[in-house]
């Protein structure tokens, strides 16, 4: 496939598409206080496919929600594509999500009353703008959705639905795409298809993608894997393979068990 001459981001490769500076997130108060994030500082580089991993309760989802303007941190600053989120109201955040951020969720990713094509174009049509037809065709072609555009979600398989969700995230050319366990609900073949596609969009379109996962196979598709434990970044790996990741996870779990035992 020939890569169309499009850059997906205003940021140049290597610079930060999103940054977290001293992020904390505290739930509850007093005795029942829980620190979901305990001061996370992180740069997510443009043009990279980054995985955030960690055991349940490590704060990886909270981190992603804060980075994606879905949740507000207790303290600290999030900068997406050069914009500080802290000062923005709901309306500005909504517009930011619509124009500069793409989402892929684990499940229930599509509006059941709309066709695949309508779902893909939804963020653009909500903004009142239209898609670049060349880009749209390129995305559809890459995802192999050409013959499915008129179908409703109920007429598609889970893998197909997730590919439509990927197309929706890509079509508005966001600065960064957040994927929350995108393969969690899929069988391994469909999951592999989706991961391969995400990889290609980074390589061919220069897209920035951040994926939260606890699946080592999924993470092994990434350029960079960040490990979180107890609300803090504890480690990271560059271009790891599956075994390296698994080793790291085991080590982290052992460390956590040791801390709790102590």
């Amino acid at each position: 496939m020939t890569s169309p001459a499009v850059t997906t981001s205003a940021t140049s490769p290597g610079s930060a598409a999103a940054r977290a500076i001293g992020l904390t997130k505290v739930y509850g108060s007093g005795e029942s206080e829980v620190h979901a994030l305990a001061g996370v500082t992180l740069d997510l580089r443009a043009g990279e496919f980054t995985a955030i991993m960690g055991p349940s309760g490590s704060g990886k989802s909270t981190l992603m929600h804060c980075l994606a303007a879905l949740d507000t941190p207790t303290s600290g600053e999030v900068i997406v594509d050069g914009t500080e989120l802290g000062s923005l109201g709901d309306k500005e955040l909504t517009v930011l999500r619509r124009t500069r951020i793409g989402f892929i969720f684990q499940a229930f990713n599509l509006i059941p009353t709309l066709t695949a094509k309508e779902n893909i174009l939804l963020p653009l049509s909500l903004a009142g703008s239209s898609a670049d037809p060349e880009w749209f065709d390129a995305v559809i072609g890459t995802l192999g959705l050409g013959d499915r555009l008129g179908h409703r979600p109920s007429e598609m398989s889970g893998g197909q639905q997730q590919r439509v969700a990927c197309a929706r995230a890509l079509v508005s050319k966001p600065s960064i795409i957040f994927a929350d366990e995108p393969t969690g609900n899929l069988d391994s073949t469909s999951g592999a298809d989706v991961l391969a596609f995400l990889r290609r969009s980074v390589d061919e379109f220069g897209q920035t993608i951040v994926m939260v996962t606890h699946d080592a196979v999924a993470a092994s598709h990434c350029d960079r894997v960040i490990f979180l434990a107890d609300g803090a970044v504890v480690d990271e790996l560059a271009r790891p393979d599956r075994e390296q990741i698994l080793e790291h996870i085991t080590a982290l779990q052992a460390a956590a068990a040791a801390r709790q035992g102590a």
Binding site: T94, L110, I111, P112, T113
Partner: protein
Amino acid sequence: MFKLILRNVGARKMRLAMSALAIVLGVAFLSGVLVFSNGLSKTFDGIIQGTTPDGLVRVEGAESFSGGATGVSAATVSPEVVQKLDDLPEVDIAEGNVDGYGMYVIDADGDLLGGTGAPTLAFNRTEAPNMDGGKILQLLHGRWGTGADEIVLDEGSAKKAGYEIGDTVKLITPIGELERTATLVGTAEFNQGGTAGATLIIFDTPGAQEVFLNGRDAFTTIGLTAADGVSQAELVKAAKTVLPPGFEAVKGDVVVEESQDAMAQFLDVIKTFLLVFALIAVIVGAFIIVNTFSILVAQRSRESALLRALGASKRQVTASVLAEAFVMALFASTVGIGLGWALARGLAAMFSAVGLDIEGTFLNLSTSTVVISYLVGIVVTLVAALMPARRAGKVAPVAAMRADNVVDKGSLRRRTLIGSVVLVAAALAAIAGLAGVDGMPAAAWLGIGAFTSLLTVAVLSPVIGAPVLRACRLVFGRLFGTPGRLAGENAMRDPRRTGATASALMIGLALVSTIAVMAGSMKASVDHVVDEEFRPDFIAQSVIFAPFSTTVGDRMEEVDGVATVSRQQMFDARIDDKKDSDTIGAADASYDDVAHLEALHGSVDFGAGKAVINEDEAEKKGYEVGDTLTLHVQGDKKITVEVGGIAKENVTIFPVNVPLDVVEKAGLQRQDNSLSIVLADGADSATVKKALDKVAEPIPLVEVNDKEGFAETIRGQVNQLLFMIYGLLALAIIIAIIGIVNTLGLSVLERTREIGLLRSIGMTRRQLRRTITLESVAIAVLGAVLGMALGLIYGVLLQRVLKEDLTVLFVPFGQLLVFGVIAVIVGVLAAVIPAIRASRLNVLAAISTE
């Protein structure tokens, strides 16, 4: 199981509270109407009982509560008769009464007091007690009056008219001089309290005799109080021995009964009228119950399946839903009954504005009201919940294991098939009505057809409504972009739900549209009739159809430019051997010319001293020229009149009409009910009108109208009724709004994750609110379109059936357009709360909702 039911009710408080509200309102209206009408009856029963003595001597055949609108006997009894009665050993007290009909109070601003509502009663004060031994009247302030120049008014009327003790009060008199004045020296009320809005003008005996009997020392009736140990029957029997001919003695109990019957006829109309609207409200509420429970059952199908998997029988699952409905109905009915008690006070306030005052102490919840309200509330709710409850029982146990929460709804094909058959049957009923098939009146055939088709269309609305919803989707998409398109899709997502919600509104709008077509046709028909048959230049009539002094006509005759003043009066009489009395028209010699009566047979000249029969009546009763009619009038008078002619059907005369001098021959007071005025050649209409208005000015009772003004007056009356009906139907529409709020609220809840998704990928709060609002508008528009279409059909068919009276069909498209706009506003209003709730959902929490 019971614990689970209570938990279920508790857990879904908000949703159940919303649908309970529909039942609350329905039951509140029902119990309010019952409380109100009981209060109404009790108020009048109390007054009647409290103002009636043990026995009454009156002109034979006089009905107690006729109010004197259709002929007052001029017969009186002398003081000697009173004395003779008083001397009887069975009689403790005999007191002569002077009742004057047709006197009215002009308030401090120069307007007629009361009039359209409760009657104005003028009489002399006596010391005679009522049948319970109590006083009839109680003085509240000031003193009783002496002579014709001093009066006492009832407290309420004095206040309403703005008079204080010492003020000069203007009165309209029924005979002779048009007006007189008297000083207000005191205020009083009936001893049991209040007057139900009636105005009382109280003189002393000489005063009343001067005003009503030209100063003759005589009486119109005599109140009798029995001596100790004498029964009413014995009292009456003794009294009969000394009565002059034409008078009768009647037991107090009989008078009470007669009065109550007369009142009941009038009150039953009000009661039935209000109950019909209560019933409509309850039916609309039932639709909302069906819908809410359907949604709840669908949302809970997995829970029902789990129960089934754990061993609950179908019956148990169904019963648990029904039990939940029962708990809700019990709660809602209780609140509704309480609210109804308050609503009755609201109704009382509304009726008091038109002059019907109800004592607050009579507005109580009776046992029967409470029982009926609970019964209706509970039965309607249970019947409405039955279908959803059975559906809950049918959920397969395996559904508990399934990931998705979709209930199998089956196809709409069976529903469509059965519905279509029923619709055809309804259409046949309507055709039977139009064709005049025997067995039932045409309107009844039509009513059956209308009722059946209304319910069937409600059931078929998911199918019939589809094109409307598709149109909404298209228009919304064009106008509002993606939020509009999403709204259109959402409205079509579950056609049953949308249809059922819209049906509640449809019922209200069908009725409103039917009424609009009827009222429009009525007004057009009035215009048509007035145009055809209003022949004089002006008509002077009492605004309340009460008779007025002949002096008005005398003065109008003297106005420059007036050629003829033709007078008409009406009175009640029994014709030949008939049991019930009819209202007979009496007209003077010039009337046949003034009204352009055309003779079919014989002569219609009233100057010939013969009766004139209207065409339809002659056909119905078989009257022919030369027949002799015997009129039985109160006071045991018999008048024979020969039929002189049959007139071509004319709405300005009664079925049976006699020359005006028959009134006096019958011993009735001569008054006028209507004056027809013809201008002299070359007279200026405007100038004469001004002069005539000046004659009528002192008595706001009488209005002078030309053709246009006359039609306008009648149109005004139609409009008054129309707005009252609209007001009562507003409740059905409010309940329908609650239904939309409820459905939308449940839909928003069901789509929480979807809303979260939309928000996360960039839908603004505003766009979300707009999506929900437009979905609501789509539901409302569906209800409005179906309702107005049905209403239009019903209205047109009714006009066809009633074409004898409603000669002209008029479809008020302007009004229908307004209804459409109102429906859109209803949709917008109904969406306010669900839209705000949806837009406040936390995006993150919404996405992660299970």
